[in-house]
């Protein structure tokens, strides 16, 4: 199994200046992700799972440790890499699907999903066609495609978010509860698309609360026990 991401001794402590306080989100976490593998982060709420994903995506700055990503252009430590390198990796190799959809307002759902592809140089018509296929595969009703997602339901927004994360075919996919707001049938469609991404060679790191999904999908589970550390089980 080719390694894609090596996380070593990663820790995150927030310093809240105004309160004169520090808050440890997680501590000394180490694990590796291989190409074409699915790893599930499992732990109770508040043990730092989302913070861990955000540190890997660099929305949060880790306090210690490293996250070495084997990019197509060599190894990059995501914790300390230059911001422009992170922007490039986000565009081409690392996808992140958060729990909540953040997107530009006033844009149609199709444009929201197609945008990252267009930014990579795809023709707008083609990008929108591929976005439409992906949204259809995830079961988003066709009449919503040209509407801005602001008024969508939680489950609809989640599918838009997932479609956007999957469409550019990232080599590392970070998923924060990708099926949490979906009904059983929609969740199954989402799992199908995520599995296809894995079969294409993506390394997937997902926060999942549904233990039956974990058993079905995960090649590895990573248990966080903040703030004392993480235990990896293969």
């Amino acid at each position: 199994m080719d390694g894609i991401l090596d996380v070593a001794g990663l820790s995150k402590t927030f310093t809240l200046h105004e309160r004169g306080a520090t808050l440890c989100a997680f501590e000394d976490v180490s694990f590796s992700l291989g190409a074409g593998s699915f790893s599930a982060l499992v732990a109770p709420s508040g043990s730092g799972k989302s913070s861990l994903l955000k540190c890997i995506y660099r929305t949060y700055l880790a306090s210690a440790g490293s996250a070495t990503f084997r990019s197509q252009h060599g190894d990059v430590n995501l914790v300390s890499a230059d911001e422009h390198a992170i922007i490039e990796l986000r565009r081409r190799e690392i996808g992140y699907v958060s729990q909540f959809l953040h997107c530009l307002p006033r844009q149609s759902c199709l444009d929201v999903v197609a945008r990252p592809l267009i930014a990579l140089g795809a023709n707008r018509v083609e990008a929108r066609a591929r976005a439409s296929e992906m949204l259809e595969a995830l079961g988003l009703p066709a009449h919503l495609l040209e509407l801005p997602p602001a008024t969508f339901s939680g489950g609809e927004k989640q599918r838009v978010n997932l479609a956007r994360g999957l469409l550019t075919g990232p080599r590392l996919l970070l998923l924060d509860e990708p099926t949490a707001s979906l009904d059983a049938q929609s969740a199954e469609r989402a799992v199908e698309q995520i599995t296809q991404a894995r079969n294409r060679g993506a390394a997937i790191l997902a926060i999942l609360h549904d233990s039956s999904l974990v058993r079905r999908l995960a090649d590895q589970t990573i248990a966080l026990r903040a703030p004392v550390g993480a235990r990896t089980e293969n």
């Binding site: 927030f14 310093t15 809240l16 200046h17 105004e18 955000k54 660099r58 929305t59 949060y60 700055l61 911001e83 422009h84 992170i86 922007i87 530009l104 307002p105 006033r106 267009i118």
Partner: protein, 276 residues
């Protein structure tokens, strides 16, 4: 990849300065005015790079030095020290080593500026179309019909009916005046746009349309931009990276989502929590 703009230790003061200015001003001292000599240290050694096609946000409250920073880059103000290297079609140019004529050429052809106050960016004594023509004339274009055609195109591109091109900006709303400023800034196809609080003071719906226009132009034309604002919503929507300034000092810079979700500096934390 070479940046379009590489700014190093840019410094601007108003006043003669003294030996104590360095110690008695800045974010830690919580003032930009030296209590010993009265000098205002507007910008104390700002450094950043801007990539081609990138939008960099500059955030901070009034008096933080963010406007002084872009005004130096547009040659409205001269820095007391520091450098800015502009990549002029592959040729690195040290902006502050240029003579006045060379600086005017960069300003008129390679940079576009949009000010918060339309009176600073537009000549209210002439028509909207005339404002665009003025910039083209500075760029040694003299063919009357071609200039009118370009002005008409740019006004329509920025959402102003061409039928109104011969009217004075006096007769336009605030949002329309900002559009005319943007059209004027774009007249010579500059690769670099400097935007100083362009949406401040406008109705939110007008703000939204101006932001949409800026993004659309950036995507269509591949422009690089420095966007100065105190509005975190503007930063969130436009900028991929953000610089935070306080009392003339850059206290923090990083990816915009990191600055907004995991701010490191006490001042940035205060700004972000104030906005929520």
């Amino acid at each position: 990849m070479k940046p379009i703009l590489d700014v190093r230790n840019l410094r601007k003061t108003f006043g003669d300065g003294c030996e104590q200015c360095g110690r008695l001003t800045g974010a830690a001292a919580a003032t930009n005015r030296c209590p010993a000599c009265g000098t205002i240290v507007a910008v104390r050694g700002a450094s950043f790079t801007l990539r081609h096609g990138e939008i960099l946000g500059v955030m901070g409250e009034s008096g933080s030095g963010k406007s002084s920073l872009v005004r130096m880059l547009y040659f409205d103000e001269a820095p007391v020290s520091g450098s800015a290297v502009f990549d002029d079609k592959g040729t690195p140019v040290e902006m502050f080593a240029l003579n006045a004529a060379q600086q005017r050429r960069l300003r008129n052809t390679r940079f576009g500026m949009v000010y918060q106050n339309a009176h600073m960016g537009l000549n209210f004594g002439i028509s909207a179309g005339g404002n665009i023509a003025e910039r083209l004339l500075l760029n040694e274009q003299a063919h009357y019909e071609k200039i009118r055609e370009r002005a008409r195109y740019l006004l329509e591109r920025t959402g102003i009916a061409a039928a109104r091109m011969d009217e004075s900006p006096h007769r336009f709303s605030g949002g329309m005046q900002q559009r005319v400023q943007i059209a004027r800034a774009l007249a010579t196809d500059p690769p670099l746009l400097l935007l100083d609080e362009v949406t401040t003071g406008l109705d939110v719906s007008v703000q939204a349309r101006i932001l949409d226009l800026i993004l659309e132009l950036q995507e269509a034309l591949g422009l690089s931009m420095v966007v100065v604002t105190h509005d975190m919503g503007v930063i969130r929507q436009l900028a991929t990276r953000t610089l935070v300034m306080k009392n003339g000092e850059v206290v923090e810079q990083g990816l915009t989502d990191q600055i907004l979700e995991d701010p490191q500096h006490a001042y940035t934390q205060q700004l972000v929590s104030a906005a929520l």
